[in-house]
């Protein structure tokens, strides 16, 4: 069964059950928009029907190996009707007819089974596509009319260029760009990131919103950027349904080899006939066809297309849209992964690691204030501050019911608490807190700047803590490397895949994180141009490079990379340039894609090897029978016994 389990555990592709575990996100089990459960009901009945429909010679001729079997079936059917059609047979006609009929029957089922394999794979693809289709849910959208008023319509009626207004609590009806307003948006449905994201016009990632996410505060005017039915999901549906499937280069090469092998055996079997006649061991046409079918690589010939379709399907189950099968295959060949630090290697949200007191305060005092400022903060960062403060023996010394929480807003960049005794505690970006303190008549010491720099050097984010006009200290928010990544990078290294981390951080911070995550190489203070440079450099050495990206400035690099995976939360330009789009916007998936690509190739190679290796046994089963038929050689083993006896007699 195809269960798209939403529970994730950081293990390396547990394939057999198909419960595709993704890695390592902080996210635990909340509902995600794109976790469609494909319905498999009636799949097999439909596949069986398809298997017979595919017997149409115009379909069969596309697969040279199976076409030979198809022709063979027709011929054996004819000799079943008239055993003497191609020359007289000495054997009893009734017996011969029975044998020929039996061979025809088996050959026919060989064809049906091969078609069935393809039909099942296609059926699963279709079911996946249907599930994807169902994700596009209807929501009510407030369309902005030219006169400034709004009109409530269904989200499916929205067109590209329409403007919609969303207010706190609304579901964003379609993908689009923010044109007006500043608001925080909960994108956990698609990113797995529970911290709200700030959206405002004018910037790349910040201005792009995705349908299905929820706006938490304020209001936004959004310009819709895609028509319904024109999105990437629709493209993917066409692909997994098999309608647009074209053979990948490797599949073509393998088909050539299989065709040549088929031709070789065709010549062999065709020439066996006069040869056997010459040595007075004539064979019947049905037996020659049996020999031919047994020798040509029918196993892989019948399963080849099913393997390809299944590969695409597996990518789809991972909620990744591939624009071609070629891209999936290229994943297996990747030599270098170029990964962004934030969101890929480290968690998007950082955790409090240390309190750094300033202005002569103690750590306990900072902890106390930080705790007071964080009691109403429900974000992971806020919770981590509470935990760290309690570790530092801080406790809440006021009635929380009497206090008021001050929420974080995009403008203030601070949050905190108004205590029952009238005091105001705040924590937030250092600049914002400085401004708050100054507005309360306080002064800012140079100690604060020193602490700020120290934290930055460690690769962390500093948060200042204050009570009214007094700054107590700085909270060091540390970047957390995703769990289990180190092992995965080790595994990748063993597979011969190199990882390069790109980060805007300074050299020191980058090296700390790089060492912690176990990446092979890193580039600090990276600009978007560096990204494309590193890809070009690797490619000039003949390597294949994969990367993820979401911003418009990533687009050239995404296009340059052999496998470019754009995040669904990213901009339209990034999605256009990439050859895959990740609906969950989880950049770590790149690693899973490499294994899917490899798995596809391994499956193809393994079944080819198996199919060819089978020939040896089939030879030994059938060849002696051609000799035995006329009683010239009773059987190999029998002859060997004779041989033994004779040498014994000597």
């Amino acid at each position: 069964m195809l269960t798209d389990d939403i529970s994730r555990y950081p293990e390396f592709m547990q394939t057999p059950q198909g419960s595709n575990s993704l890695s390592s996100s902080s996210h635990t089990g909340a509902s995600r928009r794109h976790t469609p459960k494909a319905s498999m009901g009636g799949l097999y009945q439909r596949a069986i029907r398809e298997a017979f429909v595919k017997l149409n010679p115009r379909t069969e001729v596309k697969n040279p190996v199976m076409f030979i079997v198809w022709v063979g079936t027709i011929v054996t059917f004819l000799v079943t009707l008239d055993p003497n059609l191609f020359g007289t047979v000495q054997a009893d006609p009734a017996q011969q007819r029975l044998l020929n009929g039996l061979i025809t029957f088996i050959l026919f089922f060989t064809l049906v089974f091969a078609n069935f394999a393809e039909a099942v794979a296609e059926g699963r693809g279709k079911a996946q596509a249907d599930a994807l289709r169902s994700t596009r849910s209807d929501t009510i959208a407030r369309k902005l009319l030219p006169n400034g008023s709004t009109q409530e319509i269904s989200s499916t009626e929205l067109r590209r260029g329409d403007q919609v207004k969303v207010v706190a609590g609304d579901m964003i009806p379609a993908d689009g760009e923010v044109v007006k307003g500043v608001a925080s948006v909960d994108e956990s449905a698609i990113t797995g990131e529970s911290a709200p994201v700030l959206k405002q016009p004018g910037t790349d990632i910040m201005s792009s919103v995705t349908g299905g996410t929820r706006i938490l505060s304020d209001e936004l005017i959004i310009n819709v950027t895609s028509d319904p039915g024109q999105g990437f999901i629709d493209r993917m549906i066409a692909l997994v349904e098999g309608a647009e499937r074209s053979k990948t280069p490797n599949e073509i090469a393998l088909t050539v080899l299989l065709t040549v092998l088929t031709l070789v055996f065709l010549i062999v079997v065709a020439t066996v006939s006069p040869l056997a006649n010459y040595v007075q061991a004539p064979t019947t046409i049905a037996i020659l066809i049996s020999l031919l079918v047994a020798l040509i690589p029918t196993t892989i010939g019948g399963l080849l297309s099913a393997i390809g379709i299944a590969g695409m399907d597996r990518v789809a189950q991972f909620n990744v849209i591939a624009t071609s099968g070629r891209a999936v295959e290229a994943c297996g060949d990747i030599n270098t992964l170029v990964l962004d630090k934030t969101g890929t290697i480290t968690l998007g949200n950082r955790l409090a690691d240390q309190f750094i007191p300033v202005n002569g305060h103690t750590v306990e005092e900072v902890a106390q204030i930080a705790l007071a400022a964080s009691v109403f903060d429900e974000t992971p960062e806020g919770k981590s501050i509470v935990i760290l403060a309690e570790k530092n023996r801080a406790s809440v010394n006021f009635k929380t019911a009497d206090a008021t929480g001050v929420e974080f807003t995009a403008r203030t960049r601070m949050s905190g608490t108004d205590l029952p005794n009238g005091k105001e505690v705040r924590k937030g970006a250092v600049d914002a807190v400085k401004g708050f303190v100054r507005s309360r008549g306080g002064v800012v010491s140079t100690q604060l700047d020193e602490a700020y720099e120290r934290v930055s050097r460690l690769g962390g984010t500093p948060l200042a803590v204050c009570q009214d006009s007094e700054i107590y200290g700085v909270i060091y928010l540390k970047d957390i490397v995703k769990a289990g990544l180190r092992e995965r990078f080790d595994q990748l290294r063993r597979m011969g895949v190199k990882t390069i981390m790109l980060t805007g951080d300074n050299q020191i911070t980058a090296s700390v994180i790089a060492r912690e995550a176990g990446v092979d190489d890193f580039i600090a203070e990276a600009t978007p141009e560096d990204k494309i440079d590193v890809i070009r450099r690797e490619q000039s050495e003949g390597k294949l490079v994969a990367m993820t990206g979401d911003g418009t400035n990533d687009a050239p690099a995404l296009a340059q990379a052999n496998v470019g995976v754009a995040m669904n939360s990213g901009t339209q330009a990034a999605k256009e340039a990439a050859n895959m789009v990740d609906l969950d916007s989880d950049p770590t998936k790149l690693i899973d894609l490499v294994t899917i690509g490899k798995q596809l190739l391994i499956t193809r190679g393994a079944l080819t090897t198996f199919s060819i290796a089978n020939d040896i046994a089939k030879y030994f089963a059938i060849i002696p029978t051609i000799l035995q038929q006329q009683g010239l050689v009773p059987s190999i083993s029998c002859s060997l016994k004779v041989l033994d006896r004779q040498s014994f007699q000597r």
């Binding site: 044998l99 061979i103 011969g496 090897t609 046994a617 029978t625």
Partner: protein, 72 residues
């Protein structure tokens, strides 16, 4: 291979040939189990399973089918 008769040998080989396709459908759809090993370890493992297995399995399977089918 000491099969019962030439006819039985041919039928057995063909039945094997036909049945191996549906038998391998699950493998083709799910993919071979992937382990993050070096190329040589992977090759050794897969050759052992699919190469050697591919040589041996049909001998056994054809022999069994030969025993099972009812006529001589």
């Amino acid at each position: 291979m000491q099969l019962k008769s030439p006819r039985s040998a041919i039928i057995s080989a063909l039945i094997y040939n036909a049945l191996i396709i549906p038998a391998l459908i699950p493998l083709a759809l799910k993919g071979v189990q992937f382990r993050p090993l070096t190329a040589n370890q992977l090759l050794r493992r897969n050759i052992l399973i699919f190469g050697l297995g591919g040589v041996i399995a049909p001998f056994i399977a054809i022999k069994i089918i030969d025993i099972l089918i009812p006529f001589a």
